[in-house]
């Protein structure tokens, strides 16, 4: 798309400074400057804490009252300074001249009000349209974002829609009054790749139609490739580098940008590791899991409940020293497989062999204890998987103490393991909130290693981390795996991560395995249409981050 260089920018931010309020103010934004022209998409890229979301909140005049304040600078929307404008004026601009889409479609809509009412409010607040006209406009807007059956959507509540549909509703709301500026704060991060692709295309299309300026905030370099005209790399509240997408991605001037790009995993799978004398440590044979929801009344009346087949006939073998990736979108059953392997869920049928013993029929803690030691799990969100009231030491030794190891001995081992995962030994006496996300995930790895497992199940273990941290944690996992000859079952929605670390890949959809084979084959030469669609939807697939240029031959 052409970027109009002439004329006034839609948004012009000059030397913007934002600080926390309170006794010891900390500067969150340190003199930010950028412009966005009509019809242009500017991507603010950066890792967590870089200040990109705060920038969007300043622009919308939505900074949390009493927590953050603008200390200097200007943010002009069509030449009008948002920062000095009276609140009433900004309120009139919000939703009409500038609009915003948020990251989490599940929580961004009010759960107790109908979609129609929430849409109607925008027209009511900013126009003098009459009831029937407002409803007609809303339904037309829903149509323009390709929502199925707009009248039904109008009468629905948010929980009756899927994540992708809700995000479409958000887009329809944001663009209802054809704003000059659209701010999209990680609008696709919480969505599946195929949905993400559709939403990105939709934003692109509507933007072209309305000549909207888009301030797009993301941490995902792949998304940048797909949507940005210009990129603004941010770090610690400052702009590190600005330029057109091609410039920044192919010839980054700053080391930080280079590091950020280098940390993006390639979509091309790495070669599988050589394997001599395979030793199966984990084997699943036709595992099924059916969830049944039945009220007490239905049980009493022997009525059948609502059945969901979460996993159907999943079989695989995992050998010592190998990594198997289970790839799929939300609802594919990949996490349920992981939970069955740990017997956190009871499989409905099938066999789960850990070191040759079927653990599926076992009941009770004592019977499961050996398998629970042999298979350890690393969870997605280290902020929530570590108990905030326990010190790192207590978290680490808990399993060992259960297994009967003396405390002193266990603590000594825990200290050693912390060094293995790259943390100081004195981290033992600290609490989870004193660590960063990446450090916490290191602790989670150490906790898994405490039990000297044969298999590690990692469920989206790096999804909550910034790319640079993600790369470090993946390296650590690979190193630990090689040194201890571990089998890893890696569950992810991210094909790049899968390509980087897996020997074998299993693609799941709606509880079924659609494709299973060596990573090199499945990801480079997919046979199933769904695998192709997944790869097709991977953001930034036509950019080679390692070489810094567009991929000419599609893989």
């Amino acid at each position: 798309m052409t970027v109009s260089q002439s004329g006034q920018p839609v948004l012009s931010v000059r030397d913007l400074r934002v600080a926390t309020m309170g006794r010891r103010p900390a500067e969150i934004l340190k003199g930010l400057t950028f412009d966005i022209a009509p019809g242009e998409t500017l991507c603010l890229v950066g890792e967590s804490g870089s200040g990109k979301s705060v920038t969007s909140l300043v622009t919308m005049d939505l900074l949390p009252r009493g927590e953050l304040q603008v200390t200097a600078g200007r943010a002009e929307l069509n030449g009008e300074d948002i920062i000095t404008a009276p609140p009433a004026r900004n309120k009139a601009l919000r939703g009409a001249e500038m609009a915003m889409i948020f990251q989490e479609p599940m929580t961004a809509l009010n759960p107790v009000l109908t979609i129609g009412l929430q849409m109607d409010e925008i027209y009511r607040a900013h126009t003098r349209m009459r009831g029937p006209d407002r409803k007609a406009a809303a339904i037309a807007a829903f149509e323009s974002v390709n929502l199925p059956d707009p009248p039904r959507i109008y009468d629905s509540y948010p929980h009756q829609l899927s994540g992708g549909q809700r995000q479409r509703v958000m887009i329809a709301m944001a663009l209802a009054l054809k704003p000059k500026l659209l701010i999209a704060d990680e609008p696709t991060t919480a969505l599946d790749v195929t949905t993400q692709k559709q939403i990105l295309e939709l934003i692109r299309k509507l933007q072209d139609e309305m000549n909207t300026a888009v301030l797009f905030i993301t941490h995902d370099m792949g998304v940048v490739v797909d949507i940005a005209d210009r990129v603004c790399v941010m770090r610690h509240g400052e702009v590190v580098e600005t330029g057109t997408t091609e410039e920044v991605l192919s010839a980054p001037r700053e080391q930080y940008t280079r590091d950020l790009l280098a940390a993006v995993p390639a979509l091309t799978p790495r070669p599988a590791r050589a394997q001599e004398a395979p030793e199966h440590v984990l084997e699943l044979v036709e595992v099924n899991k059916v969830f049944e929801f039945r009220s007490a009344l239905s049980k009493l009346m022997r009525r059948p409940g609502h059945r969901v087949q979460a996993v159907s006939d999943v079989s695989f073998r995992l050998d010592r020293g190998r990594t198997l990736g289970i790839v799929g979108e939300s609802g594919s059953g990949k996490s349920t497989v992981a939970r069955c392997v740990l017997r956190l869920e009871d499989p409905t049928s099938g066999a789960i062999l850990v070191n040759g013993h079927d653990i599926a029929p076992l009941e009770g803690q004592t019977a499961l204890a050996p398998a629970r030691r042999a298979v350890q799990m690393i969870f997605q969100d280290p902020n929530r998987s570590l108990n905030p009231r326990l010190t790192t030491g207590d978290s680490l030794v808990e399993g060992a103490l259960n297994a009967g190891e003396p405390r002193a001995e266990a603590l000594a081992r825990a200290g050693e393991l912390l060094e293995v995962v790259g943390l100081p030994r004195d981290a033992l006496s600290r609490y989870p909130h004193q660590f960063s996300g990446g450090q916490r995930q290191r602790i989670a790895i150490a906790r898994a290693l405490m039990m000297s497992p044969d298999v590690i199940v990692a469920d989206e273990a790096v999804s909550a981390l910034d790319v640079s941290v993600q790369a470090q944690v993946l390296d650590l996992l690979a190193e630990v795996q090689a040194r201890r000859n571990l089998a890893v079952l890696f569950i992810t929605h991210d094909l790049r991560v899968a390509a980087q670390i897996c020997d074998d890949v299993m693609v799941m959809r709606r509880g079924e395995v659609v494709e299973f084979g060596p990573a090199g084959q499945v990801l480079a030469n997919p046979q199933h249409a769904y695998t192709c669609a997944l790869l097709e939807a991977a953001p930034g697939r036509d950019w080679d981050f390692a070489k810094g240029r567009r991929v000419t031959e599609p893989a």
Partner: protein
């Protein structure tokens, strides 16, 4: 929605049954003989036996229980041991003032506490917030009879805006009714205002941090709509719970207010019945109170479903 309501209604039946069993056994277990109470200290053993026989006290417990339930099903709750009037009639006479007082107090509570709580949460940490918190601490800590007498002292005795005591039914005209019920209503409401304004504030503080509130602001909506339509409805469930139980507690706990303001309500009837060991009356009042609780809980459940569609469709 209808099935949801019917299911809740069905669940109320076993609850009421267990309450009935409990009340029945409670009175069988308490020391004292109803026959003795009726006949007095001078009665002979034969007289006592005759009375027991006529009351059915010699039948097996299960028969007694079924007879009792059967009678109640026909609207016969028994007669007072003291006045020999039907219990239901005595309660009916007293129920009016109590329910009127509770309703007025609850209405006052909602009109005062909800805006107070919402404002305090909105201006979190500011002067308004501190003022609201201070008022609620007073409401909590000052006993109801003190508040009652202070209100009487200021508004009735000194300013002469309201009468000191007494009650007029709504049937006697809205003016006299409102005039007399205002002060007792406010006194009774004080603790609930404290409770519900705090609850509203806490619940609102949580909800105001939610993403959809930010969305509502991002749409440029007026702050009033953001607060009352978007935030308060989502904050409503814990508040409704407190309102419901608070109302049930009011019905059963108006004794002090009724005494201070000399209102012939249920509270005073309970006190008299207990002092006179009038078992049938006590029994009926306990059942009635339990019934009120069950009914109010049903209404609360229903109000959840009305405020939150996700509950409706479960």
């Amino acid at each position: 929605m209808l099935t949801y309501f019917l299911r809740r209604l069905l669940m109320a039946i076993p609850v009421m049954f267990f309450v009935a069993v409990f009340v029945f056994l409670l009175l069988r277990l308490t020391p004292g003989d109803p026959a003795q109470a009726i006949a007095g200290d001078q009665a002979s053993l034969d007289q006592l036996e005759a009375i027991r026989d006529s009351l059915g006290l010699n039948d097996p417990l299960s028969v007694q229980f079924l007879t009792w339930i059967g009678n109640m099903a026909q609207g016969d709750f028994g007669r007072s041991l003291i006045s020999d009037r039907p219990v239901l009639e005595m309660i009916g006479q007293r129920l009016g003032p109590t329910v009127a007082l509770a309703l007025v107090a609850m209405a006052m509570t909602l009109m005062i506490a909800l805006p107070m709580g919402v404002l305090a949460a909105w201006r979190h940490g500011g002067m308004t917030d501190r003022l609201v918190m201070a008022v609620s601490v007073i409401g909590f800590s000052v006993p109801i009879f003190v508040i009652g007498y202070v209100l009487i002292g200021v508004f009735a005795v000194n300013l002469r805006w309201f009468p000191v005591q007494g009650y007029k039914a709504l049937a006697d005209g809205i003016g006299p009714f409102a005039h007399r019920i205002f002060l007792p209503g406010l006194a009774l409401a004080s603790i609930y205002i404290a409770l519900i304004s705090r609850m509203t504030r806490a619940s609102m503080l949580e909800v105001l941090r939610e993403d959809y509130v930010r969305t509502a602001r991002a749409k440029g909506l007026p702050e009033g709509i953001v607060l009352f339509r978007h935030a308060l409805r989502n904050a409503a469930i814990p508040i409704l719970t407190v309102i419901g139980t608070g109302f049930a507690m009011m019905i059963s706990g108006v004794v002090v207010t009724e005494t201070v303001f000399n209102i012939p309500g249920l509270g005073r009837l309970v006190v008299d019945a207990v002092l006179a060991r009038d078992y049938p009356l006590i029994q009926a009042i306990i059942l009635l109170t339990a019934g009120t609780y069950v009914l109010i809980n049903l209404l609360i459940d229903l109000s959840y479903a009305l405020t939150d569609p996700r509950i409706r469709y479960q």
